[in-house]
Symmetry: C2
DNA sequence: ACACCAAAACTTGTATACAAGTCAACATCG
DNA sequence: CGATGTTGACTTGTATACAAGTTTTGGTGT
């Protein structure tokens, strides 16, 4: 799940494995609720309220709020209130830009000199994606898509790069939750993935770049559509 | 200065201009001291101590600590202590990777369709860099270099992209403070800048990419050298 | 009924007190 | 003299109380 991965991004503890502590639980819970639109953009959310319902004090809640605000998922208005951050054309464009930049460099690295020990996992992922499409299981496909792009970072020898990709991906995914994903769309994404893997394993960097740009660009018309149909969830 | 720019990165307030509040002052102060190596890697730093010397309570200090830890400048070891984060080969490699990825996409955008209103500022910056070299003013050149790369982001229409570049640049700059910058090195950097601007203004994207990769790669031998001469500041 | 003002009920920001864990110094025993 | 156990002085994590500001609500006067 996205939250558990992203948690490492803002982790301040050592690399020793530790059970989820107070702020982490609150962070994960709120993160999931925001990402899944259980908490809609603009929803007011109070430190005191979350503290009560979570059983913790306001202090851990504040820490979780800060981390979520740094991810542009919460908007803290001092002395006023804290709300789930509305969508923003500018923030989304930035997130798209950053993700594309990093992932393009990732696949360049993969095409040039990849970690071949990840090859099997990539092929396994493709097979699992095929199965998810056969079952019309959109949720499973979404998770597999997430893992697929993480595997690409691992193959590039830059697993940490996925933290940034995930953070910016979340920004866009939250928006796209408003659009139903059809099996046809899944098929398109899967075809991109297979063609991308083919190009990467044969070292065709320019072709891989073209495929990835088109792959990431598939979201643009969806974003535009949602902007017109759900303008109420956007800022201003 | 880097700190004031970076502050916006972690800003949680609205976009209204506000005077520096408690945590921001502490953050800026610590940020500068860490970046300039006034606080060396491994230095123990206590919330209580900083709170006393700054006149604030522990709470604002904690917030500043968290932000600095998220930038990989502090390492908070729960219940043990907080130290200025030692250098890490892995973190530096990641920072180099991320910065290169973003800046390469930036210059591709500039070469493709730039904001021409920034052209004059770029040329002014180049002239100022020339003057700094003539005066052998390394500090001034460093600041101009910082501004130059920010201008590139503006020219690409993605000023926010510079926040990430700056954050990762700081990670490397802190290390390179250990190496004295010669006027010869400045001249090399300046030559890169001029050739980069030439390529960008004539829309030669591939050439610009090559120049930028070489430009960013100039730090690699310096990093390696410092790793051997100052291994004590590295983790493990 | 409507405009306006005041007070109460919110919000986040800060300070202080306490809890839990780690580490180091030191006394004590073999 | 050395190893060891215990106590104390640190550290960060958490809870609570208070301060400052905003928004809403209700009453009052016109």
């Amino acid at each position: 799940m996205p939250a558990t991965e992203l948690k490492d991004d803002a982790m301040t503890t050592t690399d020793t494995v530790e059970q989820a502590t107070g702020p982490d639980q609150i962070f994960d819970d709120l993160y999931n609720r925001i990402i899944t639109l259980d908490l809609l953009p603009g929803t007011k959310i109070s430190e005191t309220e979350v503290a009560r319902s979570s059983g913790y004090s306001r202090q851990p809640v504040r820490e979780a709020f800060t981390r979520l605000a740094n991810l542009n998922l919460l908007l803290i208005r001092p002395k006023r209130a804290t709300i789930v951050r509305p969508f923003s054309r500018d923030l989304i464009a930035n997130a798209r830009f950053i993700r594309a930049a990093i992932e393009l460099e990732v696949i360049r690295q993969v095409a040039d000199a990849r970690d071949t020990s990840v090859d099997a996992k990539l092929k396994n992922s493709l097979k699992a994606q095929r199965d998810a499409i056969a079952d019309a299981d959109t949720a499973a496909f979404h998770d597999l898509d997430y893992d697929f792009h993480r595997l690409l970072c691992q193959s590039a020898g830059r697993p940490a790069a996925f933290d940034l990709i995930a953070a910016n991906k979340a920004q866009v995914d939250r928006l796209c939750m408003l659009s139903l994903t059809s099996t046809a769309a899944m098929q398109d994404l899967y075809d991109d993935h297979t063609r991308l893997v083919d190009a990467l394993l044969s070292g065709k960097a320019p072709e891989a770049e073209t495929i990835l740009r088109k792959h990431l660009g598939r979201l643009d018309p969806i974003i535009d559509a949602i902007y017109t149909t759900h303008s109420g969830y956007f800022e201003e």
